[in-house]
């Protein structure tokens, strides 16, 4: 027992009287049981939203990008906002599974599986937008550097848009492999428990025949560590490159050297908010209250305060520098007196209220440890981070250098429909995941049971083992 010692001052990460077998039972229950009514209601709402969105996508592709609210001055607005928003949400998953693994944060084990699932599903949604925006998505392969029918015309490696193609596809595929490798032992657990032959076949296929030999585990741990080491700079690079879509342009408001760190912090901020939103619901519907505890919620809120603080400082810097330059063009950027008083004042104030003011409530410990308040604040941040991207894009583009080009972006029902559709698609995937995948890394969480399980900690206290 002494090898599993952890200070009794640390709160337990696993509540209740659990044995290894109890953990297996708890995590397998949502997979083996039947879905309840709430799950079906949520699923059908998400499915309806998804189908509506697909309808809007077909309408866009069939008719042309003209069905969106774009113009010759605002060539991208709602779609790229959604793209950046979804990519940003994805970042928390990799941060939790990779960065927190390198920092040996054991609390990540309760949430990393779902956070990574969220990453992958969010990056799917993000990837849809540039492909639809091509207008002719069947020509999408033109972004790849493959020999083609145009002589030797290649893609332009100087372009941040092409860097995006490489960054996002590397990110998606590496995240997927990281997630799946971690899933193999847990699929094997479900496989070996399955009684229905069909279920056994499916999980046998998904588990790739994982057997759990000592050598397999040794390699598994090394691969996880190296993948975490690779994914950590990868996740930072992805949003850095996304920010370069703007920062390498010459638009006032976009041409800003603080964009990469500011975007990365914003991405983690919004991603953790989305994890909070999803897990707030999931811990209830899959009965994971013993594994996703107040302590986990508090830790996530601390990350939110930190990254939210970085974002707030970035806003203040942008605002100050825009004013300090004295350049009239800077007074039309998204963080300026011009924006605050202009036609998009409501969007400016939405950003400030949802992203800067509301998260400050998390300084209070009672709010930070409250499930319901954390949930509500996380939704506010999700909205705020959407407005951040909308402000950066729509406000900056609405006021070009010539007043004759000034134009106000108004989304059409198709813009809104596709966005709602991606939210539906995301929740369809997540709800299916919550019913078919082990939502908590079963094997990994067993490794911390003896050190951080409530009953083991209590037992040690009673025996005075310090």
């Amino acid at each position: 027992m002494s090898s599993h010692y952890e200070s009794s001052y640390r709160e337990p990460l696993i509540l209740g009287e659990k044995s290894y077998h109890d953990i297996t039972e708890d995590i397998a229950r949502p997979i083996e049981g039947k879905a309840n009514k709430n799950w079906y209601i949520a699923f059908y709402i998400a499915l309806a939203a998804m189908l509506w969105g697909f309808g809007c996508i077909f309408y866009t592709v069939g008719t042309g990008i003209g069905v969106w609210g774009l113009s010759k001055n605002i060539g991208w607005a709602w779609d790229i906002t959604n793209f950046v928003w979804w990519v940003g949400i994805g970042h928390a998953g990799t941060l939790i599974s990779a960065v927190l693994l390198l920092f040996r944060q054991k609390w990540r084990m309760a949430i990393n599986r779902s956070a990574e699932a969220m990453t992958i599903f969010a990056v799917f949604q993000a990837g849809l937008f540039p492909i639809i925006h091509m207008g002719r998505p069947w020509n999408g392969y033109w972004v790849l550097p493959i020999p083609n029918q145009f002589g030797s015309l290649w893609v332009n490696f100087n372009s941040p848009l092409l860097w995006d193609v490489f960054a996002i596809s590397t990110y998606l595929s590496v995240s997927l492999v990281f997630w799946w490798t971690g899933l193999l032992p847990d699929f094997a657990t479900i496989r070996d428990r399955a009684v229905k032959p069909f279920q056994k076949k499916i999980y046998a296929l998904l588990s790739f025949g994982w057997s759990g030999r000592a050598k397999d585990w040794q390699r598994f741990e090394e691969v996880s560590l190296v993948l975490a080491g690779l994914a950590t700079p990868l996740v930072l690079s992805v949003h850095t490159i996304v920010s370069m879509d703007f920062a390498t342009s010459v638009n006032p408001g976009w041409h800003s050297t603080i964009f990469p760190p500011y975007f990365v912090a914003g991405a983690i901020f919004s991603g953790f908010a989305m994890v909070q939103t999803l897990l707030g619901i999931m811990r209830k519907v899959t009965n994971m209250e013993d594994y996703i505890t107040r302590l986990h919620v508090e830790y996530m809120n601390i990350v939110i305060i930190l990254t939210g603080g970085i974002v707030a400082v970035a806003y203040a810097t942008e605002f100050f520098i825009a004013w300090y330059t004295g350049s009239p063009y800077e007074n039309y950027t998204y963080l300026s007196f011009g924006a605050e008083a202009g036609a998009y004042g409501w969007a400016f104030w939405s950003l400030m209220i949802f992203n800067i003011i509301i998260p400050q409530f998390l300084w209070f410990k009672s709010i930070r440890r409250s499930f319901i308040w954390s949930f509500l604040i996380s939704i506010a941040i999700n909205i705020g981070m959407w407005f951040e991207r909308f402000d950066i894009i729509a406000i900056v583009l609405s006021k070009g250098q010539l007043p004759s080009t000034w134009w106000r972006f108004e989304p059409t029902f198709v813009d809104v429909g596709i966005f709602i559709g991606t939210i539906g698609f995301f929740f369809v995937l997540f709800l299916l995941y919550a019913r078919t995948f082990p939502v908590i890394p079963t094997a990994e969480i067993k490794t911390i049971l003896k050190s951080s399980g409530a009953n083991y900690k209590k037992q040690r206290d009673e025996n005075n083992e310090h």
Partner: protein
């Protein structure tokens, strides 16, 4: 043939398993395999397994990725069809390299991550449609299984394993 016979000893606790591994090793018996439901810290050392070299392969795969990206950007942007894009002519790879850093980085990570994982799957023989090889389904739940080959010493081994706290001991004919 007694050489095909193995003993399967099942344990229900990782600490007891670790002690048992040390005791069986101490009595100079060969442990063929240990199946566990989760990574048991220090088990590979106790079994005397050599450290894995997967991290080293990842390094070389990563270098391959960097080399590929260097070649790709040089061939497409500098050699095959040089263009003047945005007032930045394609003079030489070295002068245009800053614009290629994201590609160099992403392909390095792409190659290192994927090829390492593929190597892991090949070495551990795991892939779709592969049959699982753990002898007892409980080893993915809460049991730990130690497999020891028998060489006319069945009773001696049984007594030893019982003393180490095994909850179940089975003699199995392995084919």
């Amino acid at each position: 043939m007694s050489t095909n016979k193995v003993i399967h000893a099942l344990y229900n606790d990782d600490d007891i398993l670790m002690d048992a591994v040390k005791k069986v090793k101490g009595a100079h018996h060969h442990i063929e395999e240990v199946f566990t439901p989760f990574p048991v810290h220090g088990l590979d050392k106790a079994l005397g397994l050599a450290p894995t070299r997967l991290a080293i392969t990842a390094f070389f795969y990563g270098i391959t990725g960097t080399a590929m990206a260097t070649w790709l950007t040089w061939y497409t942007m500098i050699s095959d069809w040089p263009q003047d894009i945005g007032g930045k002519p394609s003079f030489s790879w070295a002068e245009n390299m800053p614009a290629f850093v994201p590609i160099l980085f992403e392909l390095t990570v792409f190659f290192a991550a994927h090829l390492m994982v593929i190597t892991f799957y090949m070495r551990s023989r795991i892939w779709p449609f592969k049959e699982a090889e753990n002898p007892d389904p409980r080893t993915t739940d809460d049991h730990f299984l130690m497999e020891i080959p028998v060489h006319d010493n069945e009773d001696e081994l049984k007594n030893l394993l019982e003393a180490t706290g095994a909850v179940e001991i089975k003699v199995v004919d392995k084919h």
